[in-house]
């Protein structure tokens, strides 16, 4: 592959990145102002954060197409910081919060240096969703009143929510114009996606709201020559001398417990929101690059420190603005930089216009954001995964609303763990194994596949171990994740694996999960919690299909075969093979068959009582067109002493030294076997993948690996069997 000239590519792509940066700045301007106002901070503090983030992340960042700026998730924390730290004096609270932002930036930088990005993996997915929903509701509850023109509604989130009907009745009497403008803006935001005009969509919806409301203002003042029908306290106020009177962060409360708590809250939410965004944006990257998360955290920390000293909010990687960036052709970090440049230009040259933006319009944007964060659809989606996930979601949501973010997420973690205990009914599985490495990864020599085996349990508590291994596999490879030694897999892991599946698909790798087929789950959803059950409980109880089973179903459709996922406790036709002589067959599952072939997963045991060992493998059984001698053909290095004991020994062919060396062939009727294995057949085996093959006289049994075969391996197995069958049909061998 010819090396691309990075500077050449950069220059070539510069115009499109400038454009993308411009479009992003259009949405960043209203969001920056709005998020700052929602936090009770000066409006420009949001813009300062976006500018600091854009410039510093472009230089030091580790991701490519993300945009940094003030974040939605922080609104609640910053708001409570400013109100509680200031003890009533908002400006004083703002100065103290700036100090907290600077310290949190330092902490964030440290996180990046110590590579602690992984801590965000310790949060259960449903609890995180619940927390985000709570943030959304918090924003919505407060901003809904502002949208109606009522800026001073006291009380906590719940109280504010309960006051919404009152405000709806009241607002027309207080600020009718501004209130109607706010409601109209909200309606517009909801309807925006319905308007399918590409030119119209060039400008993001929030910017339309801003432009529209400024336009209406100008219509009143310039054309109707009236005064602006919006009260001055409902307009944005920007100080005249932007750079001469920078705020001075106040570090007086350094040792205050509340202050320290706020520093940690800010850092935690920043890490969570940023990492979620980076992960999501990586899937939108047109060049399919992987972000350097820890480098990004360092840069975010640095940006927050700078932003804090300049009077800005803290800097977070944000998903909405980043996706606007990729949608508009952003390909590298320069787009982030240009978005900052355009924001500076806006503030410097359009300061007067910005001061005409009504707060109610901005509040409408925030209400919309809050609604999106907490949309009831999220709860429904989670309920479909499993009722217990909805429970975790609600617990986290309510605890966050009634207490604080930190307590809320802690409750979410605790309840998730308790629910795992209840589902698994065993404390020991978790307590005995939590600190042990539970993931093994190696490169399978024969196939060149990466094989990852997970044992004991796999939940949010130890997902980082699995992730650590999976991250070391290039996404263009073939990886098989085996859960057959694993008793319990939770929703967080299932969802995380699905993410991996997507990123492997994007880079044309293959990501397969095996060993989950006999795990029971509560719902049809692919992300549902899965636990392994004793066999008796399993028969007839299994309701939902795993991904592998679904793929098998699809394969059956494609081949016009029949697929039956049900557990068959007494599989037929396999008893008289040598392979099962020393083994007990437990059950077969996942049968895939047509009139000739029958493919199935089989659970069998070696030994009995205390030495019993349960095993699983995939088999393919088919009837031979002709009678066969009884034989066992296997790879030479797996030759089993057992067969030698049964009186069989290796049958070698002088004419085919290579075959004799590679394969172990045994059977009672030497003559018949030698006759049966004519040159053509030997060539066939030499030139095809090696399987364990047995004949019982009438049927042939092909065995895959010593574990369940992945879908790819099954396909290879089927092709092999078909070729073999064709060859047998045309061969001249006859049993005399």
């Amino acid at each position: 592959m010819a090396k691309k000239n990075p500077i050449g590519t950069f220059t070539k792509e510069l115009p499109q990145n400038i454009f993308a940066g411009f479009v992003v700045s259009l949405i960043a301007l209203p969001l920056g102002l709005g998020l700052a106002i929602a936090s009770d901070a000066p409006p420009l503090s949001g813009i300062i954060a976006a500018v600091a983030g854009g410039i510093i992340m472009a230089i030091f960042g580790g991701s490519n197409v993300t945009i940094a700026g003030p974040g939605n998730g922080l609104v609640i924390v910053l708001l409570s910081a400013i109100t509680t730290l200031g003890e009533g004096n908002l400006y004083e609270g703002y100065l103290l919060t700036l100090a907290a932002i600077i310290l949190s930036g330092g902490l964030l930088f440290l996180f990046g240096v110590l590579r602690l990005g992984a801590i965000s993996e310790f949060f259960p997915a449903s609890a995180l969703q619940g927390m985000l929903a709570a943030i959304g509701i918090g924003i919505l509850a407060k901003q809904f009143h502002v949208m109606l023109g009522l800026t001073s509604i006291p009380g906590g989130t719940i109280e504010q929510l309960l006051r919404i009907p009152d405000s709806l009745l009241l607002f027309l009497g207080i600020h009718p114009f501004a209130g109607v403008l706010g409601v109209a803006s909200l309606l517009f935001l909801f309807l925006y996606s319905r308007i399918r005009n590409p030119y119209f969509h060039l400008i993001p919806a929030p910017m339309w709201v801003v432009i529209g409301s400024i336009g209406i203002g100008y219509y009143y003042t310039l054309i109707l020559n009236k005064s602006l029908p919006i009260a001055p306290e409902l307009l944005i106020n920007i100080p005249n001398h932007l750079f001469s009177n920078l705020p001075h962060p106040n570090f007086d409360k350094l040792l205050d417990v509340n202050f320290i708590g706020i520093v940690f809250s800010i850092t935690l939410i920043t890490v969570i929101e940023s990492l979620l965004s980076i992960k999501a944006v990586d899937k939108l990257d047109p060049k399919k690059r992987r972000s350097n998360v820890n480098k990004d955290l360092r840069a975010l920390g640095l940006a927050s420190v700078v932003s804090g000293f300049l009077g800005g909010l803290n800097v977070v990687t944000v998903i909405a603005r980043s996706s606007v960036n990729t949608n508009n052709g952003g390909t590298n970090r320069s787009a982030n930089f240009f978005h900052a440049v355009f924001l500076v230009l806006f503030v410097v040259f359009l300061g007067d216009q910005i001061q005409r933006i009504p707060l109610t319009a901005l509040a409408a944007i925030l209400v919309f954001t809050g609604y999106k964060l907490s949309s009831p659809g999220a709860l429904l989606r989670i309920y479909k995964i499993g009722p217990e996930q909805a429970f975790i979601f609600l617990i986290t949501l309510l605890t966050t609303l009634f207490t604080s973010l930190i307590v809320g997420i802690a409750a979410g973690i605790l309840f998730t763990f308790i629910i795992h205990l209840i589902l698994r009914k065993s404390f020991f599985l978790f307590s005995l194994n939590i600190f042990k490495p539970n993931v093994l990864m190696y490169l399978e020599k024969q196939s060149g596949n990466y094989y990852v085996s997970v044992k004991n349990f796999s939940t949010f508590l130890n997902f980082f171990r699995l992730k650590n291994k999976l991250d070391q596999i290039p996404e263009s490879e073939h990886v098989i994740v085996d859960f057959s030694l694993c008793d319990f897999v939770d929703h967080t892991v299932m969802e995380g694996l699905y993410d991996y599946n997507l990123s492997f698909k994007r880079k044309s790798g293959i990501f397969e999960i095996i060993g989950l087929d006999i795990h029971a789950s509560e719902s049809q959803h692919p992300f549902a919690v899965r636990k392994s059950l004793p066999i008796n409980a399993l028969i007839g109880l299994q309701k939902t299909l795993s991904n592998r089973q679904k793929n098998l179903e699809k394969l059956a459709e494609k081949l016009k075969w029949t697929y039956e996922p049900k557990i068959e406790s007494d599989p037929e036709g396999i008893e008289n093979f040598l392979f099962f002589e020393s083994k007990t067959v437990n059950y077969s599952v996942n049968s895939l068959w047509n009139h000739q072939f029958n493919l199935f997963d089989l659970s069998f045991s070696e030994g009995a009582f205390i030495t019993k060992e349960d095993l699983k493998a995939t088999f393919l059984l088919f009837k031979s067109p002709k009678n066969l001698p009884v034989f066992v053909l296997d790879k030479e290095d797996f030759k089993t002493t057992l067969y030698q004991w049964a009186g069989f020994d290796d049958i070698n062919f002088k004419k085919h030294p290579d075959f004799s060396k590679r394969f172990h062939l045994s059977g009672n009727d030497r003559k018949a076997i030698i006759k049966f294995f004519h040159s053509e057949l030997i060539y066939f085996f030499e030139s095809h993948p090696v399987f364990h093959i047995e004949s019982n006289g009438s049927h042939l049994l092909i065995k895959g690996k010593d574990r369940l075969s992945s879908l790819q391996e099954i396909k290879i197995m089927l092709a092999f069997a078909k070729d073999l069958l064709t060859l047998l049909e045309h061969s001249e061998y006859r049993v005399i």
Partner: protein, 287 residues
């Protein structure tokens, strides 16, 4: 060859449900290695026990020239450790317990402590059975340690005597050896290349180890090498379980640095969750 074949085996026993299987297994092993076998009972000696044990022994071993039985009293751990020293034992045999409800093997605390205190190599038998079950696949650690040579030699020696099909030398490559950590695409490429290089180096090291073993022993034995990436001492047990090995051969605990006292070592991991029959080779040369 550094490894000295096992000349004296010792089996400490008490009357437990699996005694019969264990005695069968022990006598069979002694026969295979052509070694002397010492049974040591810890606990009160009663005529009934004596008769019962003798009957059991007669049942499984017609030739008892090389077999001795001692009846001792005292703390099992110190008694057996002392006996091992006294009789200059090469290999101590211990039976592990399998807990049915957890479907995993756990060692009794006595066996676990003995494993640490024994002055000789230790074999933990997980699946003792009256009938001989073949030891088809042996997995042996190939750690980069001076003890490894002897351990690998022992694995080949056993493979030879028990007619195994395959020996797999497993090199555990710890993350610290890769030195680069995966952050993005570029570092991932670096890591992948570096791992391939380590894999090659490991293979060379394994070949050197095997070269030093006399042909008479390696002859006819198939061996493979496999590098796995993970925490040392733990992943190899997981690997043995995944490939369904019949015997895992490991180095005894290496020199204890002060720091390590506070953290479980390789063997401690292994002993809490034994994947297969486990043979721990205590090097005579390296203590």
């Amino acid at each position: 060859m550094i490894f000295q074949p096992f000349k004296t085996l010792l089996f400490g026993f008490a009357f437990s449900p699996s005694l019969r299987e264990n005695v069968y297994e022990a006598t069979r092993l002694a026969q295979y290695f052509n070694a002397a076998l010492i049974f040591v009972h810890v606990g009160q000696k009663t005529p009934i026990k004596q008769v019962e044990f003798q009957r059991l022994l007669d049942e499984c071993s017609p030739n008892q020239d090389q077999i001795q039985i001692y009846w001792k009293e005292g703390d099992p751990i110190t008694t057996l450790a002392r006996a091992s020293k006294e009789f200059d034992v090469d290999l101590l045999l211990l039976g592990a317990l399998k807990r049915e409800n957890v479907v995993k093997y756990y060692l009794g605390s006595i066996a676990r402590k003995l494993t640490r205190k024994a002055p000789c190599s230790v074999l933990l038998m997980l699946n003792p059975s009256v009938d001989w079950s073949p030891c088809k696949h042996i997995v042996v650690n190939g750690f980069d340690s001076p003890q490894t040579q002897e351990t690998v030699e022992a694995a080949f020696y056993i493979g030879k005597y028990l007619a195994s099909d395959k020996i797999t030398l497993v090199g555990e490559v710890s993350e610290s050896r890769v030195t680069v950590s995966v952050n993005d695409d570029r570092s991932l490429r670096k890591v992948t290349l570096r791992k391939e290089k380590i894999d090659r180096e490991e293979k060379m090291r394994f070949i050197d180890i095997i070269k030093k073993i006399p042909d008479t022993i390696t002859e006819g034995l198939k061996y493979e090498t496999q590098s796995i990436f993970g925490r040392r001492g733990y992943s190899i047990g997981h690997y043995a379980r995944v490939v369904r090995a019949d015997l895992l051969v490991m180095n005894a605990k290496e020199e204890q640095r002060f720091f390590h006292r506070f953290f479980p070592s390789d063997l401690d991991h292994m002993l809490t969750e034994i994947p297969t029959d486990l043979l721990i080779i205590r090097s005579k040369t390296y203590g």
